[in-house]
């Protein structure tokens, strides 16, 4: 999608607009302020569940389960202590580490496969490259659940159930189509004429990579990594079916956290916060990359 490049005429016409027509600035300003206020109200409504989760995670279990809610109850770290196994002894570290391994390694594998593929689909194009692109996209539309059963039976037969590498391989397959689409849209912007000129000038491969390709591709790699990491970290269905005690990931661990007895709300809120932290951190750190990633590179 094209960016807004020509600012010149816009500035001019804005100036003339201001000179020619003054449409009751008072009323307009008040309307603008009201709309700004409305945006704030909606933003707050959307963030309230998260704030409530954060507040509850710092309350004691007794204060977390009152009605009406005790907003001003004293703060405590008890919920977090419970999450880290203070009374049950069940440590959340193995599942958290499993999630980290599965997300990071699969993201790395995705990059290793997607970058060369995107190169063959944008810079030195193979024949029928659009068909290939749509093949990748179509795999994203197939319902994952329909392929899960044979994978489960296969893994059972070769003894790969409850093995983190099985998850890594399938997370790679799950994210690869998105990554190929995204990387292609970035590589499509590499100035091919400059590549050819560099070749004529006898610039080495490393200089070409550093000076011409890297500036365009580096943001692409960042966006792809971010999205693949988030999707792998969030995944539940595969992890639930294919892992048990050894290789279980953080989302699976979370689902086993709710007990039928006793109070658990503060503990669950603390757990939800801890498990979401990596995604929140990555997402906020790269807000602008998020859009490109989510739209598979179609929107920049």
């Amino acid at each position: 999608m094209s960016q807004i490049t020509d600012v010149g005429p816009t500035e001019n016409s804005r100036a003339t607009t201001l000179n020619n027509r003054k449409p009751r600035p008072d009323r307009k300003a008040r309307g603008g302020a009201l709309l700004g206020l409305l945006a704030w109200v909606i933003g707050i409504l959307f963030v309230v569940p998260i704030l409530w989760m954060l507040l509850t995670s710092f309350h004691s279990e007794a204060d977390a389960a009152t009605n009406p809610p005790s907003v001003l109850a004293p703060l405590t770290l008890q919920g977090y202590r419970e999450f880290f196994g203070a009374s049950t002894g069940a440590s959340p570290w193995p599942p958290l580490l499993n999630s980290m391994t599965a997300s990071l390694v699969s993201t790395l594998l995705v990059l290793l496969l997607a970058v060369p593929a995107a190169y063959a689909l944008s810079i030195k194009k193979v024949e029928k490259w659009t068909d290939v692109m749509f093949f990748f996209l179509s795999t994203k539309m197939l319902p994952i659940v329909a392929g899960l059963l044979p994978i489960y039976i296969f893994a059972q037969n070769i003894g790969m159930l409850d093995n983190i590498w099985l998850l890594i391989i399938f997370y790679t397959a799950m994210n690869l189509p998105i990554a190929v689409w995204m990387m292609r849209s970035f590589l499509a912007e590499v100035p091919v004429e400059m590549l050819e000129a560099a070749q004529v000038d006898g610039a080495g491969l490393i200089r070409t990579l550093k000076d011409i390709i890297a500036p365009v591709v580096a943001p692409g790699i960042a966006a792809v990594s971010l999205i693949c990491f988030i999707f792998s970290w969030n995944e539940l269905l595969f992890a639930r079916v294919l892992t048990a005690t050894v290789a279980q990931t953080a989302p699976v661990f979370l689902t086993g956290f709710v007990t039928s007895q006793g109070l658990f709300l503060a503990k669950v809120c603390a757990a939800a916060i801890v498990v979401s932290l990596p995604v929140l951190a990555a997402g906020f750190a790269a807000q602008d990359k998020l859009v490109q990633g989510l739209s598979m590179g179609a929107v920049k």
Binding site: N67, K125, L149, N234, T255
Partner: protein, 316 residues
């Protein structure tokens, strides 16, 4: 970017066929690992699913394994739960996608204006999408919907108390409106997604044209109706399509909030249950095949949408 076919043919001075063929393979080489990996891991399982769907295979009765013909498909189409879950899937996906699209467009329009704290509101709006889906579902179920200590009923109590009443309404949200409860939690998570894509679309509008229209005396509504909406059409389609791809496969919210009970079981959940709990591999596979065929039909239309976007980019 010129079209793909014209780039190589005329410039090559037609070297020997063997040389050209080796050049083709050099072009293809970087693509092959990704392509082969994807084919093996996404297509082979579906072939296996297709085979199993014609088999009588229940892990609880391993001795009775054999060829079943179309039995599994007959059972899928006559199973009332399966038919119900088709309806639920359509309802759930359509509601979540349409409502989040509408909300996302409204919020994107608000955020497209300049006001104090715009960046902060944008950040707040993105946050729901960055909560791990299972965690979000758990929070909605236990911290918000819970009839005894959830925030919704807690607020009702607080407001009623404010007016001196001791008997506030305390509905059991999930039991009273199970599907809406699931939908609401999903809309909360997916509105930011729609908003982000639509906001990017709004910000790519040709501002000079809009300014010119304003100068010619076009009203706010006219500009929205005749300039913003047509420009936004492709972004709305893209957001709707991508949202549908993800929401139709939703498992986490249904699994966590209602465990598929009270008529909220969608197809992913029902298939999961048929194979994971009932261990009926044959029937689960048949259901999977039916879903895949349905998806292919819908996806064909969806892909047409993307390919128009794609052609516009290609022709740039």
């Amino acid at each position: 970017m010129s079209s793909a076919t014209t780039t190589s043919a005329p410039t090559d001075a037609r070297p020997s066929a063997a040389l050209r063929r080796s050049g083709d393979w050099a072009r293809r080489a970087p693509l092959l690992p990704a392509l082969i990996f994807t084919i093996i891991l996404t297509q082979l399982p579906f072939v296996a699913t297709l085979v199993i769907s014609f088999m009588n295979w229940n892990a609880y009765y391993p001795d009775e394994r054999g060829f079943a013909g179309l039995d599994n498909f007959r059972r899928v189409f006559t199973d009332i739960n399966m038919r119900q879950s088709v309806v639920t899937t359509i309802l759930l996906t359509a509601t979540v996608v349409l409502v989040s699209l509408a909300l996302g467009l409204g919020i994107a329009l608000l955020l497209d204006r300049k006001f104090a704290g715009r960046g902060a509101v944008r950040t707040m709006m993105i946050a729901p999408f960055l909560i791990v889906p299972v965690a979000a579902a758990l929070i909605w179920k236990h911290a918000l919907y819970n009839p005894e200590y959830g925030l919704f009923n807690g607020l009702l109590s607080a407001v009623w108390k404010l007016f001196g009443s001791d008997s506030p309404p305390q509905p059991d949200w999930i039991s009273n409106a199970p599907l809406i409860s699931v939908e609401l939690a999903l809309i909360w998570q997916w509105t930011p997604f729609m908003m982000l894509i639509l906001l990017a679309g709004l910000q790519s509008r040709p501002l000079d044209v809009i300014e010119a229209a304003k100068m010619d005396g076009a009203g706010t509504w006219d500009i929205f109706r005749y300039m913003t909406l047509p420009h936004m059409r492709q972004y709305l389609e893209l957001a709707g399509l991508l949202g549908s791809i993800y929401v139709v496969q939703n498992f986490d919210a249904v699994f966590t909030i209602t465990s598929g009970g009270l008529g909220t079981a969608n197809l992913p959940f029902t298939i999961y249950q048929t194979f994971y709990n009932e261990q009926d591999y044959g029937r689960a596979s048949a259901a999977g095949v039916v879903v895949v065929i349905g998806t292919i039909i819908i996806a064909t239309f969806a892909l047409r949408t993307v390919s128009t976007l794609f052609r516009e980019e290609g022709g740039r």
